[in-house]
């Protein structure tokens, strides 16, 4: 059974539609990365799941059980941190954990959670003295209370330094190996690139891509980059040869194909036009770049 099933979720803020038929699901023990730029609707999706906000239509099931505002029992197994950590500031980290413990987490388990999230050393200080990164970790610790089967973390890496980000990644992978499913959002693909099993990309409230991590990488469009002095002349030479060239800063890019014909054709076009080539590279687009392309082509569609 799927840990989480979101089907055709629609949500309006007044007249403005924030979510359009959003559907996706999470298998037990997997990590799903929800990717999208700011304002795409990531937090709104998460808020709808845990009942912080209403939605206009659609259905949400946790462990196969339909979830509504008044039928919330399946949220017993959900830990969440949405938008920003929000501990009680006049309580210490430890007291916050005690407060949110519904009684099923033992003292040893609590200790273990504090160790895993690395909040032990400041657990007895008041939360109002915490830095954003410390609050973020406390927030994650709170979401780990009460034996969650599903963790919902909204941009949990915000405010964390590289070391803590690295440690959090390790922790999330460890948790998913224990069978916990994780829904994690970010506007930076890079943050999730080594941990997510699946990606859902959303833009302007619509799911524009769903894919597993491997195919996300290999599906990305491949490019040939020519580093040249005169990019404009290079672009017209390549366009004349039948390519659609794009100028980026000091490089001109064309789409690659699977053999080397595109590269050779491009090179000879540039040579014939007498353009000096300083460097050529064929590369598989990295994740961040393919995401940007995906988003910009979606934005273009939207504009038309």
């Amino acid at each position: 059974m799927k840990t989480l099933e979101v089907q055709s979720l629609n949500k309006f803020f007044g007249r403005k539609q924030a979510l359009f038929d959003v559907s996706f699901d999470i298998e037990p023990g997997t990590i799903l990365g929800l990717i999208g730029p700011n304002g795409a609707g990531k937090s709104t999706i998460m808020k709808s799941i845990v009942g912080l906000t209403d939605y206009n239509s659609g259905s949400i099931k946790i462990d196969g059980k339909e979830l509504t505002k008044n039928k919330r029992s399946s949220l017993e197994n959900v830990g969440s941190m949405i938008e920003s950590p929000a501990p009680y500031l006049n309580l210490t980290g430890r007291q916050n954990l005690k407060l949110f413990n519904d009684g099923s987490t033992t003292d040893e388990e609590m200790q273990e959670i504090m160790e895993e999230t690395q909040i032990i050393e400041f657990a007895d200080r008041k939360a109002k003295k915490y830095s954003l990164g410390m609050k973020q970790r406390l927030g994650i610790a709170i979401s780990l209370l009460n034996h969650p089967k599903l963790l919902i973390l909204d941009e949990p890496m915000n405010g964390l330094d590289p070391q803590s980000t690295h440690d959090l990644r390790d922790l999330l992978v460890k948790l998913s190996k224990r069978g916990i499913s994780i829904l994690i959002s970010s506007h930076l693909l890079d943050e999730l690139s080594r941990i997510a099993d699946y990606y859902v990309v959303i833009n302007h409230g619509k799911v524009i891509k769903k894919s597993d991590a491997k195919s996300f990488l290999s599906e990305g469009p491949k490019t040939i980059k020519f580093e040249v002095k005169d990019t404009d002349a290079a672009k017209s030479a390549l366009d004349a040869a039948g390519f659609t060239a794009t100028v980026y800063d000091k490089t001109v890019e064309i789409e690659d194909n699977n053999d080397s014909t595109a590269m050779n054709a491009g090179l000879s076009a540039l040579n014939q036009a007498g353009i000096e080539i300083e460097n050529v590279s064929r590369n598989q687009t990295d994740l961040e770049e393919s995401l940007l392309k995906l988003l910009s082509s979606d934005n273009n569609k939207e504009a038309k």
Binding site: V50, L52, N70, L75, S80, A86, P87, Y88, Q95, D102
Partner: protein
């Protein structure tokens, strides 16, 4: 449900509210005792009633402050994101808040009583305790607060602000006595006016001085029932607003 109540009380226990207002209540009782003690004429009478009444006015203010923030602080501190994101329905959360208000009220009543005993020992020559007067004040205050705090909860929820709710609560307390003359004129001309909530905010005064019934044109029991009915109406509206609030 018990989990929620335990959590609310845990927060209060680690807050300063109950200590701070406990001290103010004690100070008020001591001050009243001292005033009676220092006056030649007043020191002749048993001041326990007035001492307790003074303390209980502090309780009134404290409860307005308390109720006005109990729903809103979760929103302003964002802690509502943990509170509302769990398996508990908003109705249960709302009830746990109401229970917490009642617990705080009972606690402050106990503090008022103990403070009166202390003031009695220090300034009032250990005179007898007029339990009937105490009971009368507590009953009047309880009906009054039920109505007043429901209103304060509603205002705090509508305006999303505890400051507005405190201000309106305190202003209501003082304004009622100023408005009463006008109210009584309206009631004289249109007798249905006596059923508006404002009239019932006199329930404490009428419990203490039955003469008030000439103004309100309602018996004490009618005043009590009216306070409860309006209080329930306000609570229901508050619940609906609270339940629909998006975070």
């Amino acid at each position: 449900m018990l989990t929620l109540i335990r959590q609310e009380l845990y927060k209060q226990l680690h807050g300063k509210f109950y200590i701070g207002w406990g001290i103010v209540t004690l100070a008020m009782a001591l001050f009243a005792g001292f005033v009676y003690h220092s006056s030649k004429e007043l020191s002749q009478i048993n001041a326990n009633g007035p001492i307790f009444s003074s303390a209980i006015i502090v309780v009134l203010v404290a409860m307005i402050v308390f109720a006005s923030s109990i729903l809103t602080t979760d929103f302003s501190n964002n802690t509502v994101k943990y509170l509302f994101a769990r398996q508990f329905s908003r109705g249960k959360i709302f009830i746990s808040k109401l229970v917490t208000i009642v617990v705080m009220y009972v606690y402050l009543l106990v503090v008022s009583f103990v403070s009166t005993l202390i003031a009695n020992a220090l300034f009032n020559k250990m005179r007898s305790i007029p339990f009937d007067v105490f009971g009368n004040r507590i009953s009047g205050m309880s009906f009054y607060l039920f109505l007043m705090l429901s209103l304060v909860l509603l205002i705090s929820c509508l305006f999303k602000s505890n400051a507005v709710a405190i201000a309106i609560g305190i202003v209501f307390y003082f304004v009622v006595s100023i408005i009463n003359p006008f109210l009584s004129i309206f009631i004289y001309y249109h007798s249905w006016v006596k059923y508006i909530p404002l009239t019932f905010l006199n329930v404490y005064s009428q419990t203490i001085s039955p003469m008030m019934s000439e103004m309100t044109k309602l018996s004490l029991n009618e005043m009590r029932v009216g306070s409860i009915i309006w209080g329930i109406v306000f609570l229901l509206i508050t619940y609906v607003v609270y339940n629909r609030r998006n975070v």
